[in-house]
């Protein structure tokens, strides 16, 4: 045992993916410096002052490195063996949190231990990732083989989502939705991913462009109908090699479109909804006739997709108006640029755009950012930390940070694909998915492209829980990856 342990520790560092470690160290270091810049108050506080955010963050980084080192020195098999118990414990902690956490800005997600607060949701990520990996690693588990496999995966994903939603931490809950990438990688139909992307696009377009009216319907709705027509034709062309059906539908749509336009030109305006529904309906009837005649089952998918899209479109207005809460509606409206209420909900985003925009190409220089220093951007050391980089380091610095993240994510995809077992691969893709989601939403929100969803920028945003959560997530992956040569099974 003694000699084996030594072997493990030396071989871990020999086969450790140092590129990832290096990227990690760069990111946390730049992050700590940014926090120092963001909370610098012209009083020349030291970077290491423990009363300041930056000083605390450096303490957290030190502890994170310690945690990372401990993980690297652990036996790689522990994670697989204890995946379910870890998941279970985290779920219990999440449940307990709902009841004992104090109200912090409306959410009940923080456990307070004296001076230290922890957010269990941050630790749910690696636990869920381990659990999902363990599921996929079960003997003869193939996702597409049985529909019940999907249920098992979705239950693992949705249990923490529900618990975190109950803590009123919508942002952290949404992160788990990113596991759809894992399911996709493990065999889920690309159509699902495509549908999700379509749904998001349709939603955004339909909500954002409420006016002007075209053919009596909002421009957004009009555009979505056109997109559905386009997808309809493309799918038909894609599924049928000779493409005659697709071509006929295209000609039909184009011809009817010309007729409607000419009529509109002469003042006879058809109702848009009736036109699109009848055009799409005739297209679908024609396609189903062709489906039976040529016995091409895939046309059914097309018809189903189109029908679902239309239904989705009709439900968007209902969902937006009646299901979402007013503050969520407003966040979405602000993010989509519908509302210019710069003093209200749009204040954060507007100020963050001003801060970033004022940085210019090269930025104002370290500690010279006026917007972040003077606290114009709320939450600038946590969720809006990217502003500080945008203002002080400019376009060059912001792009560099984005490239570092992209490099890390691509490196992790590379690591994922070099694993020989499903457990490591699935776990790695979980990490990739979480990072994609966090990066995409956080930066998107700061630069005004996404709704304001309060999730941190990995490794950058101030906070021990978040940093520990990401460190654990990443170092377990590094530990698993380092062990791929040790393995015999």
């Amino acid at each position: 045992m003694e000699s084996r342990n030594t072997d493990t520790s030396t071989s871990v560092f020999k086969s450790l993916d140092w590129i990832t470690v290096l990227l990690y160290l760069i990111l946390v270091t730049v992050g700590a410096i940014s926090i120092y810049a963001a909370s610098y108050d012209f009083d020349n506080a030291s970077l290491f002052d423990l009363n300041e955010f930056s000083g605390k963050q450096i303490l957290w980084i030190g502890l994170s490195l310690l945690v990372g080192l401990v993980i690297l020195l652990m036996d790689y098999r522990i994670f697989k063996i204890y995946a379910y118990p870890i998941y279970g414990i985290v779920l219990i902690v999440l449940i307990v949190t709902i009841f004992i956490a104090p109200n912090t800005k409306g959410s009940h997600s923080w456990l307070v231990f004296g001076p230290v607060s922890l957010q269990p949701a941050e630790f749910g990520k690696f636990a869920t990732a381990l659990c999902l990996a363990k599921l996929f690693d079960s003997y003869n588990f193939v996702l597409n083989q049985k529909i019940s496999n999907y249920f098992r995966a979705l239950i693992i994903i949705f249990l923490p989502i529900i618990l975190i939603l109950l803590q009123r931490e919508t942002g952290s809950a949404l992160v788990y939705v990113s596991f759809i990438f894992v399911l996709y990688r493990e065999g889920m139909s690309g159509l699902v991913l495509f549908s999700v992307l379509c749904a998001i696009t349709f939603f955004v377009v339909a909500v954002k462009f409420a006016d002007p009216l075209i053919l009596g319907i909002p421009m957004g709705e009009f555009t979505v109908f056109l997109l559905i027509m386009l997808i309809f034709v493309c799918m038909l062309l894609f599924y049928c090699k000779d493409g005659i059906v697709g071509r006929n539908v295209l000609i039909g749509f184009a011809g009817s479109g010309v007729i409607v336009s000419v009529l509109a030109f002469f003042g006879v305006v058809l109702n848009g909804t009736i036109y699109f529904l009848s055009a799409l309906g005739i297209g679908m009837v024609y396609t189903s006739i062709m489906m039976f005649r040529h016995r091409i089952g895939k046309y059914l998918i097309t018809i189903g997709f189109v029908a679902t899209s239309v239904m989705f479109l009709f439900s968007v207005n209902y969902v937006f108006g009646n299901v979402l809460e007013p503050h969520q509606q407003q966040r979405i409206k602000v993010a989509l640029g519908i509302e210019e209420n710069i003093m209200g909900a749009g204040y954060n985003v507007n100020q963050s755009k001003i801060a970033i925009g004022s940085g210019g190409i090269a930025g104002k220089g370290f500690l010279n950012g006026t917007q972040t220093k003077l606290k114009y951007v709320p939450e600038q050391h946590t969720d809006f930390i990217f502003c500080t980089i945008g203002e002080e380091e400019g376009f060059i610095g912001s792009v560099a940070v984005l490239i570092l993240f992209l490099g890390l994510i691509l490196r992790l995809i590379h690591i994922a694909e070099r694993q020989r077992t499903a457990f490591e691969r699935v776990y790695a893709y979980c990490v990739v998915s979480i990072l994609i989601f966090h990066l995409g939403i956080n930066v998107g929100m700061v630069i005004g492209l996404c709704p304001v969803i309060g999730i941190p920028l990995p490794f950058f945003s101030y906070g021990g829980s978040s940093l520990w959560g990401f460190t654990i997530l990443l170092f377990i992956l590094l530990r698993l990856d380092a062990a791929r040569k040790e393995r015999t099974d």
Binding site: Y184, Q351, K353, I354, L374, G390, L406, E417, I447
Partner: protein, 617 residues
């Protein structure tokens, strides 16, 4: 576990997905940071508060170093509309000592684009101007209750004497026109209005400074930007020393109470104006502070026109005070010599009659001045115009040129705004007004005794007196003696010499001395000061004659030359002489002798407005 290689290709979809997202974000960042300037401006207006530091306006002293005008702080209540949060209107009203309606009016005025063309919700706007220090103290205590409000310290003028308003002028907020004319001004700045505040505006105002402060999201000041290296420190306005003797000025204004007219006193040796009184006048403090607008409107509407500076702007018939100029011209032109005698049979009788009063006849120049004989000067002008061998028009042109040299007919160029030029007719004027029918010496004869078409300002008349006192030269009269660290306009240091021999001036001075010792100005015959003088009684179409006087003293070393002009007050000896002699005595002695207290008392209390015969009063 088998490996599904078709699924492995999906890594490209996932990797591609995040790569596309990052690319979109980079494009967005490029758009925000590189191609768009609007955010930079927003950031600056967010974070920088450019605060104007107003320099203190120059102080004004009188010729004896007495402080006349100084500054006191006043506080403008400012606000940035977009920063104004919820506040209690009633609390604001009570803090500012206003009723709810008054506040609503002020608020409406601030937002009214006609009254406040620079209104913007994002820049500081003035709600109330010139809060007194007491009101400021009350408001400052509660300032935290009113988000978006702040107080800007300004200085306003304070006057040590309730006098000399016409000389000092006042300050007012700049108009749109001022801003267009001079880029120095910004809305809400003050500029001089009337008086030396206007004519010495550039020296008095100094140079504004700018302080660049950083303010945080809550509007709190977080110190100076870059430790103030981009700040511009203000330069105080320059102090002025007036040539005015403020006590003489105040005394003159008291003497003129109840009268309409002007007193101008000049130090002949320098052209420095010692007193420039116009009556009725007003207390300069009326045009300071919150009530300025109301008081200004009242002054404008006053039928006695207190804002009209009669000393500079009043163009009056000079009457007999004009006679010294005529004597000088006649002597210089050789029309008369000191022994030339003209007859006076109770006036000039030559086809028309210009009346005169009882004295010996015939008469030569000096006694003519002494007794203010009209006939003498009428004959003189007639002989000059009708001189053989030249045309009347040429002779009149010659006459006019002398008058202009002596400072009549054009603005003298005093360092105060809105001086009037008076009027001296020339040959063309008469050719036009007589429309072809010939004019002759007789038709214009009244100009020889300062009547008819001739008009002069009290300043011009006083300047003539100073020229006689100097025996032949004058300096352009001015009210500012010194500008701190700077020189006054060199034109005030340049002597003007009419082309008339000194000896003739000497003769005129002697004639004026005789008028005091044994002529029309005997009331000015002070026991210990040799005063020279000349009365004037000017006919006018408005009512009783104007009472005028010019005089200087001492005879051999003149220190003061004075002109008094009292509208519709009768003979020159009635008001002009006593007031003029009191001014001379006050200036040279510092006080009025016991023997003359009675005259002083009569002048201080008399009211000629009521007895003027002018109905509109």
């Amino acid at each position: 576990m088998r490996k599904d290689y078709s699924l492995e290709k999906r890594k490209y979809v996932i990797g591609g997905f995040i790569a596309v997202i990052v690319l979109i974000y980079i494009i967005r960042l490029f758009n925000l940071q590189v191609t768009n300037d609007k955010y930079k401006e927003s950031a600056d207006s967010n974070a920088f508060l450019k605060r104007v530091i107003y320099p203190s306006r120059g102080l004004i002293y009188d010729r004896n170093g007495k402080l006349v005008v100084f500054n006191k702080p006043a506080y403008d209540v400012m606000l940035i509309p977009k920063d104004v949060g919820e506040f209690d209107t009633l609390a604001l009203c009570s803090a500012l000592n206003l009723t709810k309606e008054q506040l609503a009016d002020k608020w409406a005025d601030m937002k009214n684009p006609r009254k406040n063309p620079g209104y913007s919700a994002y820049t500081p706007q003035k709600l109330i101007s010139q809060l007194s220090i007491e009101d400021y103290g009350k408001f400052q205590e509660k300032l935290n209750l009113f988000p978006g409000f702040f107080v800007q310290k300004r200085t306003v003028r304070n006057y040590a004497y309730p006098a000399a308003a016409n000389i000092l002028g006042n300050i007012r907020e700049v108009s749109v026109k001022d801003i267009d004319r001079d880029r120095y001004y910004r809305r809400g700045d003050y500029t001089g209005d009337l008086g030396i505040e206007k004519s010495y505006e550039v020296a008095l105002r100094g140079q504004k400074g700018i302080e660049i402060l950083m303010k945080d999201a809550y509007g709190r000041i977080k110190g100076k930007y870059e430790d103030g290296i981009y700040d511009i420190s203000p330069e105080s306005g320059k102090n002025l020393t007036l040539s005015i003797d403020i006590e003489l000025q105040e005394y003159g204004e008291k003497l003129m109470q109840g009268k309409i007219g002007a007193i101008v006193a000049i130090e002949p040796k320098t052209g420095e104006i010692l007193a420039l009184v116009t009556s009725p006048n007003y207390d300069p403090s009326l045009l300071v502070g919150k009530d300025r607008g109301k008081n200004y409107a009242a002054l404008v509407q006053d039928p006695l026109k207190p804002l009209y500076d009669r000393a500079l702007q009043g163009a009056y018939p000079p009457g007999s005070t004009f006679k010294p100029t005529q004597g000088l011209i006649l002597l210089q032109e050789g029309i008369v010599n000191l022994n030339t005698m003209y007859p006076c049979h109770h006036g000039y009788v030559n086809g028309l009659r210009v009346g005169c009063h009882g004295h010996a006849s015939p008469i030569s120049l000096k006694p003519a001045l002494q007794t203010s004989c009209n006939a003498y000067f009428c004959w003189g002008l007639k002989n000059m115009i009708d001189k053989s061998g030249t045309k009347a028009a040429n002779q009149l042109t010659k006459w006019k040129d002398y008058m202009v040299e002596m400072g009549y007919g054009y603005r003298l160029g005093v360092d105060l705004p809105s001086e009037s030029r008076g009027f001296i007719p020339n040959a063309d004027y008469y050719s036009n007004s007589f429309r072809g029918s010939n004019w002759s010496a007789n038709t214009i004869i009244s100009i020889s005794i300062g009547q008819g078409e001739v008009l002069a300002t009290p300043l011009q008349i006083a300047n003539l007196c100073a020229t006689v006192a100097n025996r032949g030269f004058f300096y352009t009269p001015h009210v500012v003696k010194e500008i701190a660290d700077s020189v006054i306009d060199p034109k005030y240091k340049e002597a003007h010499r009419p082309k008339i021999k000194k000896e003739y001036y000497e003769a005129v001075a002697e004639g004026m001395r005789m008028a005091v010792t044994g002529g029309t100005c005997r009331l000015a015959n002070l026991p210990d000061i040799e005063v020279c003088g000349k009365t004037g009684t000017a006919q006018n179409p408005h009512g009783r004659d104007h009472s005028a006087f010019i005089g200087f003293a001492p005879y051999q070393d003149p220190k003061i030359a004075v002109c008094v002009y009292v509208e519709n007050a009768g003979f020159g000896a009635a008001y002009g002489v006593p007031i003029g002699s009191l001014m001379i005595e006050k200036y040279l002695k510092g006080e009025i002798s016991e023997a003359r207290k009675g005259i002083e008392q009569r002048m201080l209390t008399s009211n000629t407005i009521e007895t003027s015969g002018v109905k509109k009063h």
